[in-house]
Symmetry: C2
Subunit: 464 residues, 2 copies
């Protein structure tokens, strides 16, 4: 079916044929068909057998390209208060299905292998807890990161890698390295709310740039913005499988962005946390790989790809390297060694690539199943671009359904989603949702999508 040999509407070979052709038992053949049925790939017709189904998601209308707007500065809209309030409401409720997160289910991660590596690290380093961790990070871990960075066409010296507490600390350090309170920083719109929070907490001003669900930040809009505001100090971009859009910048855009920012004296802060999560298994080239002047600060995290329970991120500071190192030292001192040692061992082993292959397959399946359910149950007018990688689905609800109203209604039913209002200082995405695409599509998850759909319909009726 993936190869196109069987098209929608075609009849599936009979169970008996499958048994003979693939030398499998009746129960295996049946299980396979039922699994494909559950995923919405096959449909059973009474007394006729299985047929290839036209997936409902094929008819999904993608999210619109952003209508161009003139980037404007909303200085302080209280995104922190908004985020804090949403988080607090989420924590107080009795959540049964959490679709608000942006990481995979625990079962998707190599938890046992990392535990084993941790046990070995503890055995081999008896004085570990008695000794302050090494400056910058643990040597083997930094080497592993540097070796993996080659896959994204980055040539980084291990010494240049500063290990941080997740990508969020890396972004904090990058911003502090290049900008101060009052400065303007261009961000994608919509963007990960952590970025808006961090900017607000530092008194910096976020300038939201229209961003395509397909190709990422609009370079034309960025140019326009820089003509209006001459104090833009940096632009933060998530080039691959952007959170929440799932967009991927084409290589030509990355090259163009590097040249443009360089000529304007604007720093690029690249958050490349999702690049290993593409369905095709290719690691896209980092923006930094086009940079020859040290104008790109590269930030990343292993939080989404390897271990949500470890807070391991890193930063390579380009021409601000010295300042980044100083700021890291003054902000939190070097990271603990234990997780780094364990992760360094894992990344050096073939288990790392094996894990990533498995993770990508699972994410593709989970994402497709979630999109399928949304396409099936959500009311007409719902829009969704199915990304080719990553962890999130960005859903545009029809009419003027308020994502925060939906958030509260869903929470009352034990379901948590991330309302679109978190992803901008404006009200532009108030009728959007970010839905997690990283968890197994269980019956509970399926039911929660149906409940969400009902609530969307209800709100649609109420608001007209």
């Amino acid at each position: 079916m993936e190869a196109g040999t069987l098209a929608p509407g075609d009849r599936m070979p009979s169970v008996r044929t499958l048994m003979e052709r693939h030398q499998v038992s009746l129960s295996t053949a049946l299980q396979t068909c039922r699994h494909l049925e559950a995923q919405g790939i096959l449909e059973a017709r009474p007394r006729s057998g299985y047929f290839v189904r036209t997936p409902a998601r094929a008819s999904l209308v993608p999210v619109d390209e952003p209508r161009p707007w003139v980037p404007d500065l909303k200085q302080y809209v209280g995104i922190n208060q908004r985020v804090s309030s949403i988080l607090a409401r989420g924590l107080q409720a009795n959540v049964k299905v959490n679709l608000a997160v942006a990481h995979g289910a625990p079962s998707l991660y190599p938890v046992n292998e990392l535990r084993q590596a941790t046990l070995r690290a503890l055995r081999e380093n008896p004085l570990l807890y008695g000794t302050p961790p090494p400056g910058g990070g643990e040597a083997r871990f930094r080497s592993a990161i540097a070796r993996r960075a080659l896959e994204a066409r980055m040539n980084i010296n291990p010494d240049e890698i500063v290990v941080t507490h997740g990508c969020i600390e890396a972004i904090n350090l990058a911003l502090r390295a290049v900008a101060s309170a009052g400065d303007v920083v261009a961000v994608e719109s919509p963007t990960y709310y952590a970025l808006l929070q961090t900017l607000e907490s530092m008194g910096m001003r976020a300038l939201e740039i229209p961003t395509s669900p397909q190709t990422g930040i609009s370079l034309e809009a960025l140019q326009l913005a820089s003509e209006t505001y001459d104090n833009i100090k940096a632009v933060i971009v998530v080039p691959h499988f952007q959170n929440p859009l799932g967009s991927v910048m084409p290589d030509s855009h990355k090259a163009q962005l590097v040249r443009w920012a360089e000529s304007r004296g604007i720093a690029i802060i690249e958050d490349d946390t999702y690049s290993a999560l593409g369905d095709d298994g290719n690691i896209p080239a980092a923006i930094r790989s086009w940079d020859t002047m040290g104008n790109v600060i590269h930030c990343a995290s292993l939080h989404k790809t390897l271990a949500p329970g470890m807070r391991l991120g890193w930063i390579a500071g380009g021409k601000w390297q010295g300042r980044v190192e100083m700021l890291k030292y003054a902000q939190t001192r070097p990271n603990e060694a234990l997780a780094q040692i364990a992760m360094g061992e894992f990344m050096d082993s073939p288990r790392y690539d094996r894990h990533l292959r498995r993770l990508r397959t699972q994410l593709r399946e989970h994402r497709a199943a979630m999109a399928e359910a949304i396409a099936t149950h959500f009311p007409a007018g719902t829009r969704l671009t199915l990304p080719a990688g990553g962890l999130s689905l960005w859903v545009e609800m029809p009419g003027s359904v308020s994502s925060e109203q939906l958030f509260d209604a869903a929470l009352a039913k034990g379901i948590r989603v991330a309302p679109g209002s978190l992803f901008s200082n404006s009200s532009r995405y108030d009728h959007f949702l970010r839905i997690n695409g990283g968890q197994p599509f269980t019956r509970d998850v399926e039911k929660s999508v149906r409940v969400l759909a009902t609530e969307v319909l209800r709100l649609l009726d109420t608001t007209g």
Copy 2:
């Protein structure tokens, strides 16, 4: 000897008497005498036996009380550059004896017990690495912290405890909660260089307040400073076994400081990392215990008392609690759970108090031995206040010996010290050293003190 039954000059009972009186073997009795001799407590006189020695450190002149100065603002003196340069020189050199650190030797910490607790935590939480850590911190660890805080007379709800990456992150958060770039923050003088770095990295201005080696920050000078500068937003104090002085604020000073700061609308940031390290085993009352208005932000770390290899600190934000929580979330997200679970278990067990008793005894011995060696070998005019707890010795060198010149000379001989110039934005402590008092007084350490003393003498001759 400690009880005063045997005074300096008295003859020690003979080895034979010791064997009979204490029912020990000849070798044990001899070993004990040799141990006491090595510590400088006994001296052997040929053919006469052992005599109680007058410790050289008894004749040490304490560091002067600070001559009062009018607190002045040195806005930017580049302490970061100074610290970075000193650190870089230290890292490049082949250091054999490191007297620059402010933590104990690895052997002083319960490394095996914490490893065992970590193994249990990994066994009992198989999905740990697959799940993001809980917001604010791990429940049992926060409860253990809250229970231990009672010993310092603080009644803190576990929910109010935000776990941080060491005390340094706590201080960062506290400062960001109460002040902005350009604001003035009063600090002790001399003070831990991390504070000066953090202030400089945030564009805040450190106002150095005269601080007594005995009783800590001068409240009179603080009052004077507040009359000159009306934009002091906070005062940071280390009330117990201050780094580097070792001073301890009397309770009356703490109470007075709380009232004064409250009336002036100035926040108190208390760094109470060393309070468990008093020789007498009493936990002194925290400044926060006098606070009823939420005007004291309490910060602490387990880095010095329990595990230099874990980056575990915490903060209780008083009336800025909401802002502290938001800043922590935006800066690094919640800490990893593993170390917290292990430490929570350890702190709940009797092993915690056992460890602290042993640690205090060892620190007292190591500190005394180090002071003894300095008193014996350093040239006349050297001053040193022997603190009643903590990890550091603050040594004033005679004449105008430059601590940075000594730093470089010592480094060339494989010895690292912390030059006094790190502890102020002024040149006030350029002829001071901070010497670690937390490591076993081995032959190598003893030799290094003699080498240091020789270098001090040499520099004294050179500079007059």
